[in-house]
Amino acid sequence: MRIRLTSVFVDDQAKALHFYTEVLGFVKKHDVPVGEQDRWLTVVSPEEPDGAELLLEPAGHPAARTYRDAMVEDGIPLVQFAVDDVRAEYERLRGLGVHFTQEPLELGPVTTAVLDDTCGNLVQILHAQDPAS
């Protein structure tokens, strides 16, 4: 069994594609029209083009809004990405106008930060501290 795809609900797929590619730096993998407006839209990391895909799924279901609003209010991220250096990414993304609800924080074995994906979700970025240090 392998994890090949996971998803986040997004308010607007076009806006989400822009944020996840132009801002975060992922690349588009699949973009297939589904029905009248929706797309099967996935992105992958350029570092792992055959790795797990993230599906940017339309948040059309009424329960999705309630759920995501509650998560955002309490600062809870719905997806997590590995980076080499949280602080460097924080500086880079802040320069691009990204809003963080949690600034970089060293917590035991990891450093994390939490940002707003502008499409209704919070995203955690994380790196593990060098075990040698």
Binding site: V72, D74, I76, Q102
Partner: protein, 101 residues
């Protein structure tokens, strides 16, 4: 601003977890519930449910030791030390009576 009874402040401070929350907020204001839970779990080995932490925060808020700041869709928690200043000066003997600003 609501009047806060000193009793509420003492009650809020009587609990070690709530004191830990204040310790963490001293380090950085404006934490989300998620960040507070993470700090308690990792730094203090307090693996409380988010609901439990939320209830502790409500007690701190009632004592005006924590102020909740809503910013758009986010909710941040700031430390407010004013009630502590009132307690700290309550039994102090001073030559000249102090006035609060």
């Amino acid at each position: 601003m609501m009047a806060v009874m000193a009793e509420d402040v003492f009650k809020a401070l009587a609990d070690p977890t709530r004191r830990r929350i204040l310790d963490e907020l001293v380090e950085r204001d404006g934490q989300t519930l998620f960040e507070i839970c993470g700090r308690l779990a990792v730094k203090h080995d307090l693996g409380l449910s988010r609901q439990a932490v939320s209830q502790h925060l409500a007690v701190l808020e009632a004592a005006d030791l924590v102020r909740v700041r809503r910013q758009g869709r986010y909710k941040h928690h700031d430390l407010n030390t004013e009630p502590l200043a009132r307690i700290a000066t309550r039994w102090l003997r001073t030559d000249t009576p102090e006035e609060s600003p």
